[in-house]
Assembly symmetry: C2
Homo-oligomer: 361 residues x 2
């Protein structure tokens, strides 16, 4: 509760700075961050006095359990957002900060007349900005989620068998997270064998491992509301010379980017540290995504580790470092860690999962 109170106070300070007297969010991740409610849909309104959470009647009891005392729960019929418009009007607020990047154009238009007389201010990224730097409690939670990823990954060589399809392995990974650690998958686990691993976000299929296949496993756990994200590429039997070479390049790029991470460095320079190595090796056209992204309550959040991103890394940010090379028809290699930014460098939270080339079978 104390943590939530602090966040509400900080948000109020930001509203004061912006010269607005209230704030409204429909984003479930932001709502969870500010007051701890885990349901959806809902609208959180910050104005004078106790914050208010508007939920469907269905979720009234759950909301009371989760935020009672901190926030007043208002159960509504129909659209929570439209009810919130009326609520702000009734409360007599004069201006409201709204996340125009989260609210649909239709819903925004409805607000135009339901909130006539209230000044609407586009507040994009205010809460997301707060979320970027993690508190010690949040870092502990991500550390816990990272440990689950590392341990579940570590068990794979012990149970992966020649008849285990990509779908089966993904199911096994998520089952172990839940039964063994009370964690959920932070996202749909990616398991891709051989040529399928050339698709960065492959959806697991029926394919079973073939001789020499790369096995790309991208897994993340969500524990106590926080996510981890990790990828390893291992091999089923001896890989081809080209895949061996590619593995070495991706690993060098990943280590180089981790080495570049510290407070005060621009996100784009971390991207460059990985990208330049892959480009120099002639595979630049096959590294088709950013080097990484922030991670926390959401598996993807700010900052993006991308060549156009000027955000300066700060101590307490948690990001992924995940360069990859994808060769259509042949296969792909991606190596990813969840990494904490510190004053003097990076702490790799998923570091206990080895990165030397691992050949099974």
């Amino acid at each position: 509760m104390e943590l939530f109170r602090k966040r509400i106070d900080l948000l109020r300070e930001k509203l004061d700075e912006l010269g607005i007297d209230s704030f409204l969010t429909i984003d479930p991740v932001n709502i969870g961050y500010i007051c701890g409610f885990s349901g959806s849909p809902a609208v959180l309104v910050i104005s004078k006095g106790l914050p208010s959470l508007l939920v469907p009647r269905r979720d009234e009891e759950q909301a009371g359990r989760e935020v009672g005392g901190l926030v007043e729960v208002i159960a509504v019929e129909g659209s929570v957002l439209e009810e919130a418009y009326g609520f702000l009007k009734k409360k007599g607020v004069r201006s409201v900060g709204m996340e125009a990047d989260k609210i649909s154009h239709s819903e925004w238009r409805k607000g135009s007349w339901r909130m006539r007389g209230i000044r609407r201010v586009i507040c994009k990224g205010v809460v997301e900005g707060m979320r970027m730097r993690k508190s010690p409690e949040e870092i502990d939670a991500i550390r816990g989620a990272s440990r689950v990823s590392v341990e579940v990954f570590g068990a794979i060589p012990g149970f992966l068998s020649p008849d285990m399809s990509e779908m089966d392995l993904a199911a096994e990974i998520e089952y172990r997270m839940r039964r063994g650690y009370k964690a959920r998958a932070a996202f749909d686990t990616i398991v891709a064998y051989g040529p399928n691993s050339a698709i960065p976000h492959a959806i697991p299929t029926d394919r079973v491992p073939g001789e020499g296949d790369s096995i790309k496993i991208d897994l993340g756990a969500k524990l106590h509301g926080y996510c981890s994200d990790m990828t390893r590429t291992i091999f089923w039997g001896r890989p081809s010379e080209e895949m061996k070479k590619v593995y070495g390049i991706v690993l060098e790029a990943q280590l180089s980017a981790i080495d570049a991470v510290r407070s005060g460095v621009k996100a784009k320079d971390v991207d460059l540290a990985a990208r330049s190595i892959i480009e120099r090796a002639g595979y630049g056209g096959m590294f088709v995504h950013p080097t990484g992204h922030g991670i926390g309550r959401a598996v993807h959040e700010g900052p993006s580790i991308w060549k156009k991103e000027d955000t300066v890394l700060e101590t307490g940010m948690v990001i992924t470092i995940e360069p990859g090379i994808y060769i259509p028809g042949l296969g792909g290699v991606r190596i990813e860690d969840t990494v904490l930014v510190r004053d003097d460098g990076a702490e790799v939270l998923t570091g206990d999962a080895g990165k030397d080339m691992l050949v099974l079978a």
Copy 2:
């Protein structure tokens, strides 16, 4: 492919009727329905000639595999939607239908100047309207997903044990869907014991079953892109007299609503069929959600089975029927089936899972 071509043709007819020459959607479910692409984010543009799918470079290969021949794939850097605005401008379209309920206000505003000169028409629910009536192929897919739900539910009495927490049972259910049927959970499985079952959308906890607990299990499978949704409430040892009574009322309400389903009936009359029984029994205030919802590619889609919904049911629609009574502190009972609307009545797709009160242990 033939199915997708038909849908594209039908959508074009609708655009002609509306007097607009192109259409744009960012909704992954609508995109999957119209052309079969399963990734996200993406923008699908229908105008003259081949439809176009804009995807991040990362997803280019996957898109080519999934929609090649039917749709031209355009890989872009940066925001797919902003690139789509420029693309429409370059193509020289004069008007574009857009789903203002899916596009954020910020993104809509960006379109205001990037698409200057193009008339934007709010097209809400055009594709959703097409999706409501299912084709025979779609009904078969939902039938298959329903069978998975029924069979996995049927196995529960064989493995549920006194030390199995809500979380464990949810994990077990989803694991069996995946390993046994190559299906995914259509949504986070709800398992709630005893007082927790009074929360309609409870999140599974550490609780193990206690004597006399109601055990509410809301599970759905997604198979070949289509969902099923089913709830049963069973008991761990003898339930209290009140819970027995409540079970009987909910079951009567559910059967009565199913009985009311047929082509030509209004959705609200189906809701009324269930609601009036629960109200007459004095539990109206504890039936805190609609009687049901449409289901298909999305677990929740149109029509809503709700007291304010005037939509007329048509043959080929698939809906859920799921009344419930939730008594804070005591527990809740919900009974839900996935149901196909026919000319002469309802076909219950999850009907093989019995609804007589089941007492375990």
